[in-house]
Structure formats: structure tokens, C-alpha cells
């Protein structure tokens, strides 16, 4: 299966006798590369040809994906060496597609996904069929699921990015100040974060949305309450180590003010691990937002979100599983991709991970 594993490492290119080895290397990779178009072809046929049985189409999708993945990995390894991580780049590609689709949702040729009145003439609960008006099917009201998923991505990204930005700014500054001054600011900081973390995350969110009127802005701020203590503790822990370093001592002995030390010396260093954790927090917040919509206490129709689409489909999951699983799969792949990117970012930029 893994033809490339038996190959000599890339370094052997520089050694003697490489012509033969390199020749076989390339030949094998060339064969594996063909799996990419082959796999994509199988997926496409399975997706389009509705005369085949459902089981066969699922099998074709699975086999096609495996083949395409191997082909993609072979191309990557050939170009960028054996360190190439195909999963990471697929994740980056997926997140890029989701972001682009969410940004340009308004100019994409999508069927009606928001206004039920305009969708009155559309068939309801139609099965997904590629190359039709509704590539991913329609829901109870005949609203287009592809459109709903894309507008839902817009809400998910808006809410989670806004929340994480507030979390980084507020938590980061508070944590850095607490970690640099210690003493009373640190005590107050610890007290507030402890209190916020004293609620189970979802229960804290439920308590807040019980009192507010859920809109994109209020939900973002509620979610920011989850991000602030985590980001704050992270910033404090990093500040504690950075404050011991020579460059801070040097700045202080040059007569730099405390504000200058915090904003020009510490924060530029602290922000990097915070950003690497931001991915993981964004993934968590996407799930949290969807959970609220799913429980019918978050953003609700007519605005489509992944959570309220899944909630609307769950009654009919037996006969019309696509209404649950299409938004579900999109959401899962997005969360998984962001986690994957976050892991890579953390290994690279978080000083504590890197030292391990």
C-alpha cells in the first residue's frame, strides 16, 4: 500500500549511485501519482451516476478518497520531500475553501437558502444530487442545503473569530499585566478567571443566553467569556517566563517605562503562543455556537447556522439523513481541519510545546 515507505530517504539523492535509486524512486512515485486522478474520477462517477446502488456509491467514495489521498501524498513528497504532511495541507485547503465560500456567499450562484417564501416552489427534503439545482439537497421548507451550509459557515466564522479576537485582546492584556506586576493585579486576575472557570463552559453559555437576545454580536460576546480566561492564563504563564529574560532586564536598565516594557517587549512575544492556541479555541467555539443553535437558544432561523440546520433535520433523520449529515459533515471536517492546523501551529510557535 505505502510504496513510498520502502524508499531511501531524500538524502540519498546526494550520495553515489543515485541514478539508479533516483530512477526507481521517480518511477514508483509516478505510478502512485496516477492514483490522484483515478481516485477523483471514481468519486465523481459515484457522486453523479444515480443508477448505481447506494452501497456501491458509498464504497466508491471511500475507495476514491483513499486513492486520491495516496496520489496527493506522492505528489507532495516528490516536490517537498518526505516531511510533507498531506493531511495538514488538505486541512489548509478545506479551511481556505470554507472561508472563501463564506466571504463570497452573496455572489455565488446558490438557490434560495434563507427566505422560505421564495422557496415555496422548490421541492422539500430533496436528496443530494450533484449537477442539479440543489447539489446537496433541500430541507423541510425546500431551502437549499448547500446555500445554508455556506451562509452557516459565515455565521460560524464571524462569531468564533470575533469571540477569539476579543479573548486574545482582553485576556492577553490582562494576563500580561497580571504576570508582569504580580501582587494585587495578579490576585484580582486569578480571582476573575477562577470564577469564570467555575462554570462548566456550556452551562455558562446557557446562563448568559438565558438573559440576552441572541444575535451574532451578543453570541460572540458570550463566547468571548469562554475564551478570555483561557487566553488570559496562557498569557500570564508566558509572561512569567519572558519577564525573566535578558531582553526585559536590558530594557529596564535602559530606563524603559513599565508600559513600554509591557507593550513593546512582552506582548509581541506573548502574542505568538496565543495565536497558535487561537486555532484550537476557534474550533471549540464553532462547536459551542453550533450547540447553542442546536439547543434552540442561539441564533435561530431565518439565519441558517450549522447547529440549527442539524436541529431542524434531526426529527427526520431516519428517512432523510442528508438533512443532518450534510451540515454535520461540513462542520466536522471544518473543526477537524482547524484542530489539525492548530496542532501544527502549536508545535511550531508555542515555546512550551517546542521545548518538549
Amino acid at each position: 500500500m505505502e510504496a513510498s515507505d520502502s524508499h531511501p530517504p531524500q538524502g540519498t539523492r546526494a550520495l553515489g549511485g543515485r541514478a539508479v535509486r533516483l530512477g526507481r524512486h521517480v518511477a514508483n512515485h509516478n505510478a502512485v501519482i496516477l492514483l490522484l486522478p483515478l481516485g477523483l474520477g471514481i468519486i465523481l462517477i459515484g457522486a453523479v451516476d444515480s443508477s448505481l446502488s447506494d452501497q456501491l456509491r458509498w464504497l466508491m467514495a471511500l475507495v476514491g478518497w483513499a486513492a486520491a489521498f495516496l496520489g496527493f501524498r506522492a505528489i507532495g513528497r516528490l516536490n517537498w520531500g518526505n516531511d510533507f504532511d498531506p493531511g495538514l495541507w488538505l486541512a489548509v485547503g478545506w479551511v481556505a475553501i470554507v472561508v472563501l465560500a463564506a466571504v463570497f456567499a452573496d455572489i455565488l450562484p446558490l438557490a434560495e437558502a434563507v427566505d422560505t417564501v421564495k422557496a415555496l416552489t422548490e421541492p422539500s427534503r430533496k436528496r443530494p444530487e450533484l449537477f442539479s439545482r440543489h447539489p446537496l439537497g433541500t430541507d423541510n421548507q425546500g431551502l437549499d442545503i448547500l446555500g445554508g451550509v455556506i451562509y452557516g459557515a459565515r455565521i460560524s466564522l464571524q462569531v468564533s473569530l470575533l469571540a477569539v479576537t476579543v479573548g486574545i485582546i482582553v485576556g492577553g492584556i490582562a494576563g500580561t499585566v497580571a504576570g508582569y506586576f504580580r501582587g494585587i493585579p495578579d490576585m484580582i486576575f486569578g480571582f476573575i478567571t477562577d470564577s469564570l472557570l467555575a462554570f462548566p463552559p456550556l452551562v455558562l453559555l446557557l446562563a448568559v443566553v438565558a438573559a440576552i437576545n441572541p444575535t451574532v454580536w451578543t453570541i460572540s460576546l458570550a463566547l468571548a467569556l469562554l475564551g478570555i480566561p483561557t487566553m488570559g492564563r496562557l498569557a500570564r504563564a508566558n509572561t512569567l517566563t519572558f519577564a525573566q529574560r535578558e531582553f526585559v532586564l536590558a530594557a529596564r536598565s535602559l530606563g524603559a517605562s513599565r508600559r513600554r516594557i509591557i507593550f513593546r517587549e512582552l506582548i509581541p512575544n506573548v502574542v505568538r503562543p496565543l495565536l497558535s492556541y487561537a486555532f484550537l479555541i476557534v474550533a471549540l467555539l464553532i462547536v459551542a455556537e453550533a450547540s447553542l443553535s442546536f439547543l434552540n437558544v442561539g441564533i435561530s432561523r431565518p439565519t441558517p447556522t450549522w447547529g440549527n440546520m442539524i436541529a431542524a433535520g434531526q426529527e427526520k433523520v431516519k428517512d432523510h439523513p442528508h438533512m443532518v449529515f450534510v451540515p454535520g459533515i461540513v462542520m466536522f471536517v471544518t473543526v477537524y481541519s482547524i484542530n489539525r492546523i492548530g496542532d501544527a501551529a502549536r508545535q511550531r510557535w508555542d515555546p512550551r510545546e517546542a521545548s518538549l
Partner: protein, 374 residues
């Protein structure tokens, strides 16, 4: 001992104070008059006045907080606004056992599965088993719980025949793989590895056939209380799927964490010396390596129990179980504020107390912390 516990308990008091204050102030966040939010715009002034009295909105803020806190401490969490009215304390008493049972069962199941899995993957670090379980854990951690629950419902409840046969195939393939491995174990005599694999294969086969034969119909919603007289089996049938969903995530988190710690322990000198003495691998893993590696697992398990108590909200809603989470989430849309406040206060208090308990257990288990040297 008291010297390490006392500051932790003292630290708890201000946190609980802020928790109660935060929960209480929820009502102040409500835009407009909470009584109108509950009754709707068409309510008559007399109705509004009754609800305002019941919420205590006629008194100043500080008075209301003191009265509310005093009542809460003595076990009176107020009365629900919705008809039929009942005290929140009664509602909590009905809901709490269900949530606690789900959380405790999920935690037990996840520890029982995660510890052997972690030992196996740590011992076989970097092999296919390790990589597959690592990838699986990453997938499960990214799977939102409500989606996992709906996937399980789709297969277990709505397509039972398919699921049953898939499990049969998996069980038989597993049995076959174990048999092949035991044949491959080399030599002619019955060596311990071979005997273990044979016994394992037999047990797996028996279990698969038993499960296939006795496969129950899993209920889509509902719950059978242990005290209802339907027996433990009926209770298990209703809790199986919810507990499975709850335990899945915890297994992924626990097993990866314990694996990392075990790998660090396994590279220590005392493990090398144990191995040099010829102590069998499974004894090294269970008796020498597990204990020093389990500290962060214990912390996480305690946090996990708290998270499970809060996280059953979604599971209870999907599976129609009248637990704490559903009590809170279900009454948000009806604006029944006393229930939401009371439920949140109880959950948060249990959560804080559990974390304290874990802190104490942790310092009890690790002598370095007990003596205050860390």
C-alpha cells in the same frame, strides 16, 4: 494535611460568592422587565405584578440578593413561574440523579476503556496501533457531541440490523486476527503469549455471538429510573447510547494523555532495571509504570466529571432525558428564570466542589505536593 487543604477551601468561598452573584445578576441582564419577558407583551398589569412579586422585583437589588442567597443556602431555590408550579428544589431533586448517573457511568466506562488502551499504545509507541488510535482520537475530539449522538441514533436505533451485522463482522475479523497471531507466535509448545491470544480470541468470539444474539432494540428517547421497578437491565438499555456518546470523547482525551505520561515513565531507569530483572511486560505496565504516570489523568478525570455534568445538556435534550441540563436549557426559551438560576447555581456549585475534591485527592496521592515542596 490540613495545612494544604485549608487554603484551598478558603479560596473556594470567594469563588462560590462570585458564582452566586453572577447567577443572581442574570436577571438584571434581561432587557426590559423580566416579568414581561416571561408573560409576553399581552399580559395584564395585574399578572405582571404577581410575577414581579414572585421574582422579588419590588425590592432593592441588594436586599433581593441577600434574601435569595439566604434561601438558596437553606435549600429553597424559589418556585417555577410556569404552570404547574413546583419548587425548583423539587425539580433539582428529580433531575440530579439522572444527570449524576449518566456522568458517573460515562466516567467509569471511559476510564475502563482508556487505561488499557493507553498502556497498549504507549508500549507500542509509533506502531500502526498507536498511529491509528491517535488518528481516531483526533477524529473523535473534533466530533461535536450532538452530531456523534445523531450518528449513533441513525445506526443503532434506525438501522439496527445493519449495525448488528457490522458488529458481527468486526468481531469475527478480530477473532480471526487473534487466532492468526497466536499461530504466528512461533514454536510448537503452548507459550504464554499464545495461550493469552487463544483465550482472547475465544472470549471475543463468545462476546460477539452473545451480543449478536441478545442485541436489544435501543430506545430513541426516554429513561427508566433505577427506582422505577423496571430493573437494572431496562435502565442500562436506556443509558447505553447516551453514555456511549459521553464516554467517547473522554476515552479519546484520557487515553492520549495517559499515553504521553506513560511513554515518559517507560523511558526511566527503574523501568529498565525492572525489565533487566526479567519482569513480564504486563506487570511492568500495570504495577510499575501506571501509578507514577496517572497523576495528570486523575486531575483530568475530576475535571472530566465536572464537564460531563455540564455537558449532558445536549445528550439529555437529544435522548429526551429529564436531567439537570435539559431542565436548564429547556426553560431558557420559556423565560422561567427561577429554574434557570437554580439549575445553574446547583451545577456550578457541584462543579466547583468536584474540582476542590480533585485538588485534595491529588495532593493526597502525590507526596511532593502533600509536603508542600512544590
Amino acid at each position: 494535611m490540613l495545612r494544604t487543604i485549608a487554603p484551598k477551601i478558603l479560596h473556594l468561598i470567594p469563588v462560590l460568592f462570585v458564582v452566586s452573584l453572577g447567577t443572581f445578576l442574570l436577571l438584571e441582564l434581561v432587557p426590559g422587565d423580566p416579568a414581561i419577558a416571561f408573560l409576553g407583551e399581552e399580559a395584564t398589569p395585574a399578572e405582571v405584578e404577581i410575577v414581579r412579586l414572585q421574582l422579588g422585583l419590588d425590592k432593592p437589588l441588594v436586599d433581593r440578593y441577600v434574601i435569595w442567597l439566604g434561601d438558596a443556602v437553606t435549600g429553597d431555590l424559589g418556585t417555577s413561574l410556569m404552570f404547574p408550579q413546583s419548587t425548583v428544589t423539587d425539580l433539582v431533586q428529580q433531575a440530579m440523579p439522572l444527570t449524576l448517573q449518566l456522568a458517573v457511568m460515562a466516567l467509569t466506562v471511559s476510564l475502563v476503556l482508556a487505561i488499557p488502551l493507553a498502556m497498549w499504545t504507549a508500549y507500542r509507541e509509533g506502531t500502526t496501533v498507536d498511529r491509528v488510535s491517535g488518528a481516531g482520537a483526533a477524529v473523535i475530539i473534533s466530533l461535536p457531541p450532538f452530531l456523534a449522538a445523531l450518528i449513533l441514533i441513525y445506526f443503532f436505533v434506525f438501522n439496527p440490523a445493519l449495525t448488528k451485522h457490522l458488529l458481527l463482522i468486526v468481531g469475527l475479523v478480530g477473532t480471526l486476527a487473534l487466532l492468526v497471531k497466536s499461530v504466528q507466535a512461533g514454536g510448537k509448545e503452548l507459550r504464554p503469549e499464545r495461550a493469552r491470544r487463544l483465550v482472547g480470541a475465544l472470549l471475543l468470539l463468545l462476546f460477539t455471538l452473545w451480543a449478536f444474539n441478545k442485541w436489544p432494540t435501543w430506545p430513541r428517547i426516554g429513561f427508566s429510573r433505577l427506582t422505577s421497578g423496571n430493573g437494572f437491565g431496562e435502565n442500562l438499555r436506556h443509558t447505553f447510547l447516551p453514555v456511549l456518546v459521553l464516554a467517547m470523547t473522554e476515552v479519546a482525551i484520557f487515553s492520549r494523555l495517559l499515553r504521553t505520561d506513560l511513554i515518559a515513565t517507560l523511558s526511566e531507569d527503574f523501568i529498565l532495571s525492572a525489565r533487566a530483572k526479567g519482569i513480564p511486560t504486563w506487570r511492568i505496565l500495570t504495577q510499575d509504570a501506571l501509578r507514577p504516570s496517572s497523576f495528570s489523568l486523575i486531575t483530568l478525570a475530576g475535571v472530566g466529571l465536572g464537564r460531563l455534568i455540564g455537558g449532558t445538556v445536549i445528550i439529555e435534550t437529544i435522548f429526551g432525558i429529564q436531567g439537570m441540563g435539559r431542565m436548564v436549557a429547556g426553560n431558557i426559551t420559556t423565560n422561567d428564570f427561577p429554574i434557570v438560576q437554580g439549575g445553574v447555581l446547583v451545577i456550578a456549585t457541584v462543579y466547583v466542589l468536584l474540582n476542590l475534591f480533585v485538588d485534595i485527592a491529588y495532593s493526597y496521592l502525590d507526596p511532593r505536593i502533600r509536603r508542600g515542596s512544590i
